[in-house]
Point group: C2
């Protein structure tokens, strides 16, 4: 996607990282300037409409980043149930390690900006749809019915978004771990 590390890409990557951890309103332009090392004037040169425009591209970047993460895990494990379970286990483990490297669920950004920016909401929706498509594809490969795969992809997405919220609120990975353990029982019917 990003062919060379020009100022614009550096800005998008920095913004993506920060929004992922502190949310939309939790990050100021000042923070993005500091994190990226790119001065404010340049930011407005590349993103004339300012924070909102940058956020939309940052969310799209986060979307791709997560797609890569999911796909990498899915390529290693053939069974969809085990693969999804492993993905959630992985999320739960990230908590134990380094504070909050995991970050917030994407739905949080949508929720924050729900009343102020329709475009940001749509960028978040696109991300969710793409992620769910990966789950659907994986389930179809294992002979789940089309209808069931679609339904389960929503359930899985909700469990992940909600599970992250729970683990964040409780400040430990246990809720996500419990959810991961339940996955085989939850997704037993094809």
């Amino acid at each position: 996607m990003a062919e060379k590390r020009n100022s614009k890409d550096i800005l998008i990557e920095a913004a993506s990282r920060l929004f992922r951890i502190r949310g939309y309103y939790g990050v100021g332009l000042k923070d993005i300037i500091e994190e990226s090392g790119i001065p404010k004037g340049s930011l407005y040169h590349y993103f004339p409409k300012g924070k909102e425009e940058l956020a939309i591209e940052a969310i799209s970047h986060t979307k791709e980043f997560v797609i890569d993460e999911i796909k990498r895990g899915f390529d290693e494990i053939e069974d969809p149930i085990k693969a999804i379970q492993s993905h959630i286990f992985h999320l739960s483990e990230v908590f134990g390690d380094s504070e909050n490297l995991l970050g917030l669920p994407i739905g949080t950004i949508a929720a924050e900006t729900y009343t102020t920016s329709e475009q940001i909401r749509m960028a978040c929706q696109e991300a969710m749809e793409d992620w769910q498509s990966i789950y659907v594809k994986k389930l179809l490969e294992a002979d789940f019915s089309e209808k069931r795969a679609k339904e389960l992809s929503i359930v899985i997405n909700a469990l992940i978004e909600g599970g992250i919220l729970l683990s964040l609120t409780a400040k430990n990975g246990e809720p996500l771990q419990t959810i991961a353990e339940q996955i085989p029982l939850l997704l037993i019917n094809k």
Copy 2:
């Protein structure tokens, strides 16, 4: 809980309503002043530490508000699976009606303030724990094992918090509806 409608209670109720819809950073003191009709000076008289202190009491108020809602539904339906399913169906319906009267999941507030206020995070955690306790109790009454009831209460909470996030992001009640439909299949094992 609130014995008379004094200024303090009016402030808490107004703040609870606003935070529930727009989140912590989405609501300014100005909004709370306007919504409640109580002047700023009085706000600082009752809540010397300002917005954070008021938010903690507002979250606690929201907690009780939701407890009442869940319990009311649960008293009507004996079967825990049906009761939980009905609760989520109800949430999905609120979306169709009046824009975003439903509001954000409580975990969103925790996520927003995760890096800035430990106390707000804890207030959110208490709310989640209380809600989960109600699910546990309901499941135990229907002969689910203690261990299983505890696990499922986490799964249910994640499905609700995540489901709200999904419906909010998609701007319609379908994700919550799909989740509600899956509940019987998901919680089949005791």
